[in-house]
Each structure stands twice: as structure tokens, then as C-alpha cells.
Symmetry: C2
Amino acid sequence: MANDPALHRQPAREPGDKRAAILDAALALFAERGFHGTAVPLVAARAGVGAGTMYRYFPSKEALVNALYRHWKQVITATMLESFPLDAEPRALFAEGWRRLSAFATAHPRAFVFLELHHHAPYLDEESRAADARVLLPLRAFVEQAQRTGAVRDDPPELLMALVFGAVVGVVRAAEAGHLPVSREDALARAEARVWEAIRR
Amino acid sequence: MANDPALHRQPAREPGDKRAAILDAALALFAERGFHGTAVPLVAARAGVGAGTMYRYFPSKEALVNALYRHWKQVITATMLESFPLDAEPRALFAEGWRRLSAFATAHPRAFVFLELHHHAPYLDEESRAADARVLLPLRAFVEQAQRTGAVRDDPPELLMALVFGAVVGVVRAAEAGHLPVSREDALARAEARVWEAIRR
DNA sequence: GGATGCGGAATGAACGTTCATTCCGGCCGG
DNA sequence: CCGGCCGGAATGAACGTTCATTCCGCATCC
């Protein structure tokens, strides 16, 4: 920002520098105050740019929130799916999936809250909505495979996924609010064992 | 609403009539679009009253959302706590608590979503925040009692509660979004058995 | 090598719109 | 008739967005 002397000594103007600053500021504010509760000039101030500069990088506030949503959805999708050990045992598969989701929530808590808060919001466009399916479909396939081997209960896969993901969100939000007497990592690790008991046969 | 001729022929003006209409309209709109995303004149139109009339019943938009929050928090608190069979077995206690929460979510799905969405929002006042503790503290006591009898795992009670409540929210939201191949009641009933497995010793 | 001027990025004051809130003329029950 | 309640037009503040202007690094020229 303006009080950073380095900016004056070394311009260090990499391209995308400000774009990243805007996305970062928008993530924090949208996660905390919601889309309608966040004024564009406020995002600009937090990003350390002028209000007009926002519109050099994003054509509108809606375009900004969509870009942000897609960016983090893409990160969480890659985190969950990249080189997943498909051939592992169901129990190990669940542990690995949980571990990856926990790692994302721990590394990027604001992004996790943001994605959860803006899920299916009316100002997200088709492309952003479609991004959801890209994670959910492979996950559903894992559940069905685990059910076929008899390791997981025969409830509807969507129900089990809603239950598991809901539990993760509940624990992360409680940790974020400071309601838990243990660290987020510790809480998520303990919850993993509990939730596996919920879905295993 | 405005196109109901009965309103003109028979005033049928019970006291609190319009107040209830306003609260009902606000519930639907706040649950769907959020606080900042909902314009006051829109609430008035949906309630079938003039924009100015809103301010005869609530001094401000903030006062309206606080009244709404407190009303439904009070309803869910009464639903959960009233004449609870304290002396029952832990398994039956859990079943009854789950049944009551499910009944509330089924009877008032918009209120359930609204309460969840506005939990700890910055425009809620101290009184509204304090209402939360009135449900959570007795529930925590139940968990601790069940842990003492050895029926429930010895994880932090807050963690178990976050996990259970998160799972309920996850299932309700999935049902609300039409993502489940079974009805909300059916989904919640199946999930009850699953979640008990998660927390029982 | 230093001065000059150019081009695009950045800026923030200003614009039209939308919002929460106020105000007032009319309407309805007594 | 009259008094209170009501509706919706009016109001000012705040919003998203635009645009005339400034700023800055670099190439060019003397």
C-alpha cells in the first residue's frame, strides 16, 4: 500500500500484481460481509488501488465475484482431484479426501467460507455454477464404488456427501468462530474418525 | 395481498395482522437474498403493505431483521427444549433431539435457512446474539451427561455439536436445493442413524 | 547523458441509479 | 364530521460505474 517504501524504491510491477491484490481484498470482504454488503470502493481501498482501477481489471462487480468464485473453485477442485489414489482401499480413500479438504480449509479459511457462502448465489453465472459439478461428479463416483465393495452404507450417495460435507463445514465454522477448545487441524482430524463411523457399513 | 378482494370487503383487521405479514415476507426474502440483497420496499410489496407502513411496525430495517431473528430463535429454542425427556437413555435422547430439529426444519424450512444464514451477522444486536447461548448451553449439558454415562465419545462437546448440527444443515440444504433423490423427511431420518454412529462410543 | 515527449495505466471526483427512510394527502371507522 | 392509520411519492445518502485528468517509465533526440 502507500506506506510500503519498497514500492517506491523498486517499482516491481509484475503484470497481474494489482489484479491479485484486488482478488485478495475482495475475498476477505466478500467472505466477511457478503456480496451485497461490500461496496466496490471499499474493496479498492483494501487492495490499495483507486476505485476506477477496479474496472480496468474487471468489467463489473458481478464479474469480479464470478472471477473470484471460479478461481477458488478451480483451486479446491484441483486440490481434491489431482492424482487421487483411485486404487486405494475405501477407508484410505476417505482419509485422503478428508485430509485434502481439511488442508484446503486450513490453508485458505477465507476462501473456504467464501465458497460456502456464495454457493448457488443468484449473481453467479452459468459457468460458475457448472464448476460445482466438476468436483461433485467424481466424488459421487468414489462413493458409489465404495458402496459396491460393501465398505460404505447403501444410502443415496448425495445424502452421504451432504452429511460429510456439512460436518466439515460445521467444524470449520465452529473453529473459525473460536467455539472449539482445540485447533482447527486437531478438530478436523478428530472429526474424520467420527464421520467415517457415520458412513461406513 | 393487494389483489385479494376480501381485504376490501372485510377488513378482518386482527391486531398484529400486518406485522405478521411483514415478518412473513421478510423471512422469505431475507432467507433467499440475504439482508443487504433485500430492499425494504420489496418486503413491503410482498407483505401487501405500503413502504411507509413498514416503519409503523419496525423502526428500521435492522430492527426488522433482529425481530425476525429473535422470533424464530425463540421458536426453535422452545421446540428443542420444551419438556425434554431429560431422564431418557442417551440413544433415545439423541433421537428425540434430532426429531425435534428435523420437525422444525421441515415445518419451517425458510426459517431454518434464515437462522443459519444470519448466524452471527454484524447487524444483529447483543440480545439476538445472546439468544444463541440459551439453546447451546443446555444441549452441551446433555452431551456431557451422555459422555459421563459412556454412551457418547469423549471428544470436546462443542466439536460433536458442530459436527451434528453441520450434518443437519448439510442435509437440509441439499434437500432444499433438490439435490437428493429422497424427501427431506426421509433424508433426515436416514441421516439420524448415520450421525448417531458418528458420535456414539 | 540529460532533457523532452509519448502512451498506457491509474486515479478519484462526478454521474445516474437505487436504497432506506420520511412525509403528507386521503380514507375509513366512530 | 373528525382523528388515526395507511400508502406511496418524495428525499437524501450511498452505491456502482464512468471519464477527464494525472502519473510514470521509457524511447527518442540533441
